[in-house]
């Protein structure tokens, strides 16, 4: 009925005693998320918005059966925290932190594979299954429950898209932020594979951008998927060789161009919206065809 997180998900907040951690914990709880525990080294024994704080993830898992973790942990400590979560058996680790060193991300991805854990991010707004569970800092008011899955490399742009979908009466099963970094734990393909298997999701919206080849790989995957997809891509007018905000949003050595991605999606029969506000119509059309 959703991917990654739902009403049964037991969320652990790492870095819960920080400003951001505490604030978004209250927001997540207000949304109905089951935040079962927090971890902040040196702060064990405290409570944050009624959530008990532990010294280590293993205690939080042991005492509360937490199975998903969300990290509000500064970049220099994020690798350690995410490794701790995976070592303790957490299955989904949502890494919001920006500016994690590239080589740390390589190690995180390698360890996630070894542990068969899913890392969402780094540098993501998180994941939300509207009406069920919010594990992130997205403005939840823009999302409505419904049949459209969203996977996005960028935060605010995907909020725009989600808001236009909701306004058009097209709610979402799950919206997941893949993260703006060069190396992220979950790719479009990984997200599509989950949406493909989710009975509640009827169509998928991909919010991509220039840089890398994640969209091209997604297009390949779409050829074998029997649910329609609509893409919107940012960066059509971006100059090559410049990092456009996201570490991963750069056209380098002729790779990662807007044109390459559009061409790949079109070849896969996936509609590409010219403007963000065109997405709902394209989704509605795609759903009508089925």
């Amino acid at each position: 009925m959703a991917i990654l997180v739902d009403e049964k998900t037991k969320v652990l907040v790492q870095g819960i005693t920080g400003n951001q951690g505490a604030f978004h914990t209250s927001q997540m709880i207000a949304y109905g998320t089951r935040v079962v525990a927090g971890v902040s080294p040196g702060k064990a024994g405290q409570e944050v918005h009624g959530v008990p704080v532990y010294e280590t993830v293993e205690e939080a898992v042991h005492s509360h059966g937490a199975n998903t973790s969300i990290l509000f942990v500064p970049a220099p400590f994020a690798k350690d925290a995410a490794m701790e979560a995976m070592a303790a058996g957490i299955r989904v680790v949502v890494v919001l932190t920006e500016h994690i060193p590239l080589h740390d991300e390589l190690e995180l991805v390698a360890y996630a594979r070894q542990r068969r854990a899913t890392m969402v991010g780094p540098n993501t707004f998180g994941v939300i299954s509207p009406g069920k569970c919010k594990a992130g800092f997205m403005p939840s008011v823009i999302y409505k429950p419904g049949p459209v899955g969203i996977a996005a490399r960028s935060g605010t742009l995907s909020y725009e898209v989600a808001a236009t979908l909701s306004a058009a009466g097209l709610g979402q099963s799950t919206a997941v932020g893949l993260g703006g970094d060069r190396i992220v734990g979950m790719s479009f393909v990984d997200a599509l594979a989950l949406f493909a298997a989710d009975t509640h999701t009827k169509a998928v919206v991909l919010v991509g951008e220039i840089g890398g080849t994640a969209e091209e790989e997604a297009a390949e995957f779409l050829k074998t998927m029997d649910k329609p997809a609509v893409a919107y891509l940012a960066g059509k007018s971006a100059p090559p060789g410049k990092r456009m905000g996201h570490a991963g949003a750069i056209i380098e050595k002729g790779r990662g161009t807007f044109e390459s991605k559009v061409k790949a999606f079109k070849a896969a029969g996936c509609a590409v919206a010219e403007f963000p506000w065109d997405v709902p119509n394209l989704v509605a059309e795609a759903l009508k065809d089925r």
Binding site: A75, P76, H99, I100, P101, L102, H103, D104, E105, L106, E107, V109, A110, F125, F137, M138, P139, I142, A152, R153, S154, G155, T156, L157, S158, Y159, E160, A163, G180, R182, I183, V184, V207, E209, I210, G212, T213, A214, E217, Y232, A234, G235, K236, S237, A238, P239, K242, R243, M244, G245, H246, A247, G248, A249, K253, G254, E274, F275, P276, W277
Partner: protein, 373 residues
């Protein structure tokens, strides 16, 4: 962050990669002195740009006097828009073959990647794929001598050269890991008689990991304005249009630029004010935009963590303190949107709720004669 060639080579040399004898010089006299020690030398401008050879940034000297003359000529000129204030003076190598060896990250497979080619000496992007050998690596295992032997074998190297190549690959990987490199590259890796030498070297360090490398000298790339904004901690790219743009989020900022372009406008910059920006940094960001002398400014905010009222207050602050001498088009939706609108109204400003309308308006203004809102 890119390192200058001489620094990249210094690091490689420390890790056992064979590099030419030589030193960096900041004056013709120094260049002369180094040449006197080394004999025939190459003199290479030290700028953070490729293609120096084609741009006339490399010279050869048979005598110390010649080295001095070349250095005198090169020091102070501009190469690809960059001022030359240092040259690297090193032994001139007898070049039998030019290979390529590089380490980077495969963002698709999400593992380290080693690349090698027999077609060194030119930009690796210009080498046909079939001449490039690529090998994924396990980040926890690293690059073993056997990986190096496999690469050497596929390059057709044998004997001592194969051994040297394998050894160089192992050492270059150590540099890659220890220096948090995005890219380590030896191009060309020169076959000079019976030895391999790194004739040129690149080492780009991940900006996000620089805090772990305080000993590495900092270099600065970009326009003066870009460097100033970088210090504010904002993502900023200078472009050549006339509509200054600020939005919150990298993706949406790119989208705004695309929409402007579709509507026939030209953006003056990319500026991601980030999520959850406070009043003060937002105000400073607006000031940066004004520094590009745009014909109009477009502020596009989808409030999530970012509170629309904070953005409105920042705009008012700049308007009241330094003034905003060009038309300001605002689009605000999301968190605390109503409060924002009322703050703007008090100061005589209005805002759009639709990105489409805001973009159309600012493009219209940029095409017209301009004027206060």
């Amino acid at each position: 962050m890119k390192l200058y060639e001489y620094l990249a080579k210094e690091v490689m040399g420390k890790h056992g990669v064979p590099i030419p004898r030589g030193r960096v010089a900041a004056s013709p006299e120094e260049a002369e002195k180094i040449a006197a020690e080394l004999g025939e030398v190459a003199i290479k401008v030290q700028v953070l740009a490729g293609g120096r050879g084609k741009a006339g940034g490399i010279a050869f000297a048979a005598t110390p006097q010649e080295a001095r003359d070349h250095a005198a000529r090169l020091l102070g000129i501009q190469i690809r828009g960059l001022q030359v204030d240092r040259v690297l003076v090193e032994e001139k190598l007898k070049i039998d073959r030019e290979l390529y060896l590089g380490l980077t990250v495969d963002t698709s497979a999400r593992v380290p990647l080693v690349m090698a080619s027999t077609e060194g000496g030119v930009n690796i992007e210009e080498v046909p794929e079939k001449y490039i050998i690529k090998q994924h690596l396990d980040v926890h295992m690293g690059l073993y001598p056997f990986h190096g032997r496999q690469l050497a074998r596929r390059l057709g190297l044998t004997g001592s050269l194969a051994r040297q190549f394998a050894d160089t690959a192992v050492r270059l990987y150590q540099v890659f890991r220890e220096y948090d490199a995005e890219l380590v590259e030896v191009n060309p890796l020169v076959v000079s008689g019976d030895r391999l030498v790194a004739a040129d070297g690149r080492l780009n360090i991940d900006d996000d990991a620089l805090y772990r490398h305080p000993q590495v000298p900092r270099t600065h790339e970009g326009t003066e304005l870009e460097l100033r904004v970088k210090e504010l901690g904002l993502a900023f790219v200078q472009l050549d249009g006339d509509i200054a743009v600020m939005a919150n989020g990298a993706g949406i900022t790119m989208a705004v630029l695309d929409i402007l372009a579709s509507y026939g406008g030209k953006a003056a910059n990319f500026l991601d004010a980030g999520g959850g920006a406070a009043i003060e940094p937002t105000a400073r960001a607006i000031e940066v935009l004004l520094a590009t002398n745009p014909r109009a400014i477009l502020v596009n905010i989808f409030g999530g963590i970012t509170r629309c009222d904070d953005v409105a207050r920042a705009l008012i602050q700049v308007k009241n303190t330094r003034g905003i001498p060009v038309p300001l088009v605002i689009r605000l939706v999301g968190t605390n949107e109503e409060a924002a609108l009322s703050i703007l109204r008090e100061s005589g400003l209005t805002a759009f709720r639709s990105m489409r309308d805001a973009a159309a308006e600012v493009v219209r203004i940029s095409h017209g004669p301009g004027g206060e809102l």
